[in-house]
């Protein structure tokens, strides 16, 4: 199994597997970077409506080709059909949202289910009418990689390259619209057109991803990578870039994994690899991750307890809180029996001094940014300049003798 996986990773697992792996990686890059803008615009679910709306187009394109005496399985024509019906679905969502009182989530739900339902009816009809054809259109639901041709990979590569070029050209206005649509409009960006462009991008990715991962799962490739990337960086361009990389990595590794054992569904494995990256990021991302947040909270809590403990020592109050006691003990500020050590008394006096300096500072800089930075914990030396502190000390008078 492992060696099969390594073979697949190195594209040594056969022609078809190599094609699938490369195609999935390219698709992942296009989906990850293209999905980012819709995610930042908080309209990620529109992609779900778009994806489901592709199905009737696939059915109708197939029927038309058969009616014209063709084979019906010509991929570019099927994708063209899917793009057309996805476009209609997209416009329907847009129209319902802007022209009626219904909200976008309602529009998405309605379009998604109606188009998908219609598509399923068409697929059923196709199966009965052309039983000899074994059309294999169900593959568009969950993706199928078995009969992937070189031409299919070329379609993905071309579509992906066009999508990436599109992102490169429109990244600036798309970012403006996602962050601040009113300002974008006042800067001369046509917000409506840019919104349509974002969704058009998602539509293109969906269409080229139909064959490989299927319309139900392609949505995950559009949403999971940007959400994952967002956990690692605070800059839009990096979210786009990282999201593309995460999408590409998920596609490649997922395809290799599914090739390393028989009967593993490629699309689903790709999505699960993406999810694994997301779960790891959610836990371990440096600033926005769960673990980092927990550690920050704990550190903050310890700082609060330390400060409160020192103030209590300075005022000769008894300390009852177990955590406060253990914090002070650990630093050698109090003895086992909670009596302050030499060091503890010095630290306590300093904290008290800091507190009274802050009291003066708050009066002195009422409303100013300096006093806005008082959080009850930061030593005043870390916020104010030496001169400002000297001025405060002048007002405070000589320090009280440490007792």
């Amino acid at each position: 199994m492992l060696s099969a996986f390594v073979d697949a990773l190195l594209l040594q697992a056969g022609y078809n597997a190599a094609l699938v792996a490369i195609g999935a990686a390219l698709l992942g890059i296009a989906a990850g970077s293209g999905g980012t803008f819709l995610f930042l615009r908080k309209r990620a679910l529109v992609s779900d409506a778009v994806a489901h709306a592709t199905l009737p187009g696939v059915g109708i394109a197939f029927m038309l080709m058969v009616a014209l005496g063709g084979d019906g399985r010509n991929l570019p024509v099927l994708l063209l059909g899917s793009a057309l019906s996805a476009g209609i679905g997209l416009l329907a969502v847009e129209w319902i949202t802007t022209r009626t009182r219904l909200a976008e989530d309602t529009a998405i739900g309605a379009v998604l289910s109606v188009f998908f339902g219609f598509g399923i009816v068409l697929l059923t009809i196709i199966q009965t009418m052309a039983s000899g054809y074994q059309a294999g259109l169900e593959g568009f639901l969950l993706g199928s990689t078995a009969g992937m041709l070189f031409a299919d990979a070329v379609v993905i590569a071309l579509g992906g390259a066009i999508s990436v070029a599109f992102i490169l050209v429109l990244r600036r206005p798309m970012t403006l619209v996602a962050f601040d649509p009113e300002f974008a409009a006042a800067s001369g960006v046509n917000v409506r057109r840019m919104d349509l462009a974002m969704m058009g991008l998602v539509m293109a990715v969906t269409v080229i991803g139909l064959k490989l991962v299927g319309l139900i799962l392609v949505v995950a490739l559009l949403i999971i990578p940007p959400v994952t990337a967002r956990l690692w960086t605070e800059r839009t361009e990096r979210v786009v870039l990282l999201s593309g990389l995460i999408g590409g990595f998920s596609g490649y590794v997922g395809a290799a994994l599914s090739a390393s054992a028989p009967h593993l569904p490629t699309g689903a494995i790709i999505v699960l690899v993406g999810f694994a990256l997301f779960a790891l990021s959610l836990l371990f991302a440096p600033v926005r991750g769960i673990l980092a947040a927990l550690i920050r909270r704990r550190e903050f809590q310890l700082r609060v307890h330390r400060r409160q403990g020192l103030l209590a020592l300075a005022r000769n109050e008894a300390i009852f809180d177990g955590l406060t006691l253990s914090v002070l003990r650990r630093e050698g500020l109090i003895r086992q029996d909670a009596v302050a050590t030499e060091e503890g008394r010095a630290a306590a006096a300093k904290t008290l001094r800091d507190e009274s300096r802050w009291a003066v500072a708050r009066e002195l800089y009422e409303d100013a940014a300096e006093s806005a930075r008082y959080d009850g914990l930061a030593p005043i030396e870390s916020v104010l300049t030496r001169d400002a502190i000297a001025e405060i000390d002048r007002r405070l008078g000589p320090p009280a003798p440490a007792s």
Binding site: F179, D180, E182, R238
Partner: protein
């Protein structure tokens, strides 16, 4: 605006104390805007004088922000015309800088303070122009003017409300416009920010640029502005603070919502 025009403007500024009232920076005629079938702004005529600091004043829901947004083409208008420096909006849009309400954006957006200011250079950079050092330096200089240069690398969500407002102002400064439209720039900011903002706005006025603010604090109107536009769905009054910002006009604008005692406290100019 090119450097040459800028120079020209400041040259004129030195020579003429009162610049000739050429084209008004912003004039609306019979402007009506409506959300659904309920007008938010009804048939408003208004002219903002060049080089003025104009406050748009009125109670909540009076259509102040809507008027501004309609003037910018952000919300569609039902009827009426908007002229910017005597031209239709589309041709003069590049001469306007806009500062939206702070609450209108998601501050958790993945972007840094400097990146937000760089957004003000969009018209200049276009789709493919690279952000060069001179652009970054200009953005930093704009941050400097609002006292936020040291925060350039911060994610915008880590700022206080007042700091966020100053970043928005810096972005508008980067646009280097002739007409500044600000939507409630003083709403919910600290005193230091209020001072920083008003200083920048007064500096803009000194550079012969025109400033229009939606403003809600009646107590500071006489101190900050020289021109007012009072609206409550319709226009109630417009003109210099000395003649238009009167107790009578305020009573008409706010109706019973403004107690007479409150008006007395404003130390209004007596007519």
């Amino acid at each position: 605006m090119s450097a040459a025009t800028l120079e020209l403007a400041s040259d004129e500024g030195r020579q003429i104390a009162h610049p000739a009232p050429a084209e008004s920076p912003l004039a609306v005629r019979e402007l009506t805007v409506s959300y659904g079938e309920k007008p938010a702004v009804f048939s408003v005529d208004a002219t903002v004088p060049a080089g003025s600091m104009t406050a748009i004043i009125g109670p909540n829901g009076a259509g102040k922000s809507t008027l501004l947004k309609a003037a910018l083409g952000i919300v569609p208008r039902i009827s009426g015309r908007v002229l910017v420096f005597g031209q239709p909006l589309a041709q003069a849009m590049h001469r306007i800088a806009y500062v939206p309400q702070r609450a209108s954006v998601d501050w958790d957006f993945p972007t840094r303070v400097l990146d937000v200011v760089l957004m003000g250079l969009y018209r200049e950079l276009g789709l493919l122009g690279l952000v060069r050092r001179q652009h970054r330096e200009r953005a930093l200089a704009c941050l400097e003017r609002v006292g936020m240069a040291e925060f350039a690398g911060r994610q915008i969500g880590q700022l206080s409300g007042g700091q966020q407002q100053r970043v928005f102002l810096a972005r508008a400064l980067a646009q280097n416009a002739d007409l500044y439209l600000l939507d409630e720039p003083f709403a919910g900011v600290d005193a230091a920010t209020e001072k920083a903002i008003i200083d920048v706005l007064k500096a803009l006025k000194a550079e012969q640029r025109t400033v229009v603010c939606v403003h809600h604090d009646l107590a500071t109107v006489t101190q900050y502005f020289d021109h007012v536009l009072l609206i409550n769905l319709r226009k109630i009054a417009e003109g210099p603070v000395a003649t238009a910002f009167t107790a009578e006009n305020l009573q008409k604008t706010y109706g019973g919502r403004l107690a007479t005692a409150h008006i007395d406290q404003l130390k209004l100019p007596t007519v």
